[in-house]
């Protein structure tokens, strides 16, 4: 997958960073495709991004309602077949609610929304979305959320660590109470990745803390994982 890679970005009611995700896809050299929450149709894309925002206002639980959108049935199916799926912030929450990823995200321990440039370590480059990074590489991308505390039971945490599925870890202080400083994780196969910080806001020199976010979008171009279109 490289030339002409098509990456779908889902827009739910209340998605906010969908335009930014599409811009990032484009800057990385792929073709962004708009996917609408109400259409059970992935339009033949090779990979899917669930963007940040406050789907349905996130009033009930973050991502709780978006999980049931018609498009999500297709995303779950495609993910099962190996299609690369990236959930950013609210998208990560949707992936957890959909059980594509384990655990859940709860209110930040300090109870405030927090927007900052966050230092991270890429713990695993063995996923569809991190292959362009060197293992252990340190990057800076924006973090912005009110409910970013990753929680899971001990057994799940141990398994994630053991299987190398902790993909990103917070550095220089834990910004929200996430267990074991976890900022992002993957599924067993490594095609589904979720993270709280926003790589799509670090893809243009002037409009963010640098270009470190491009690595995620570049990775999926060379992932070599064949999409199984629905």
């Amino acid at each position: 997958m490289s030339e002409g890679t098509r990456v779908g970005v889902v827009t739910f009611p209340g998605s906010l960073d969908d335009g930014d995700a599409r811009r990032a896809v484009k800057l990385a050299g792929a073709e962004p495709v708009v996917l609408w929450h109400a259409d059970a149709d992935l339009r033949g894309v090779d990979a899917v991004v669930l963007p940040g925002g406050f789907s349905y206002g996130d009033y009930l639980r973050c991502g709780a309602i978006a999980r049931f959108a018609p498009v999500m049935g297709e995303v779950v199916r495609a993910a099962g077949a190996g299609m690369p799926v990236l959930g950013i912030c609210n998208g990560f929450q949707v992936l957890c609610e959909s059980h594509l990823l384990p655990g859940a995200l709860v209110r930040n321990d300090h109870q405030r929304f927090l927007c900052k440039d966050q230092r991270l370590r890429v713990e695993s480059s063995a996923t569809a979305w991190t292959s362009a990074f060197a293992p252990g590489q340190e990057i800076t991308i924006p973090l912005k959320n009110g409910e970013g505390g990753f929680v899971a039971d001990e057994a799940t945490l141990d398994r994630l660590e053991g299987e190398g599925r902790v993909v990103f870890r917070y550095l220089e202080g834990n910004p929200n109470g996430s267990l074991r400083d976890i900022a992002g994780i993957s599924n067993e196969r490594g095609n589904v990745v979720g993270l709280m910080p926003h790589p799509e806001h670090a893809v243009e020199e002037l409009f963010g803390p640098g270009l470190d976010g491009l690595g995620l979008f570049a990775s999926v171009l060379s992932a070599g994982l064949r999409a199984v279109s629905a």
């Binding site: 349905y56 206002g57 009033y59 009930l60 309602i65 049931f68």
Partner: protein
């Protein structure tokens, strides 16, 4: 160990965006019987000993001052729930 349960709900006349979001989502998931939803808060307060009248009184005052915002919320109930309502 004793437990006091406090229920706080948005005042009926105040907009409840949470409840609105839920009532919009329910029919899409096939739950078609509900015409209104309001979402409030439930607090469980623990005390080391029994729930005495003094405990209840303090819980009541905490409910009015800290746990609810009287401008937009009502304290619906403050009750001893030491025995009941555990994982019911």
């Amino acid at each position: 160990m004793g437990r006091v349960v406090i229920d706080v709900m948005p005042k009926p006349e105040i907009l409840d965006p949470q409840g609105k979001a839920v009532v919009g989502a329910l029919p899409r998931l096939g739950f078609d019987l509900f015409t209104g939803v309001r979402q409030g808060k439930r607090f469980e307060l623990e005390v080391p000993g029994e729930v005495t009248p003094e405990v209840l009184e303090q819980a009541r005052r905490a409910a009015e001052t800290l746990l609810s915002n009287p401008v937009i919320e009502d304290v619906v109930s403050v009750r001893d729930a030491s025995a009941a309502e555990v994982g019911a």
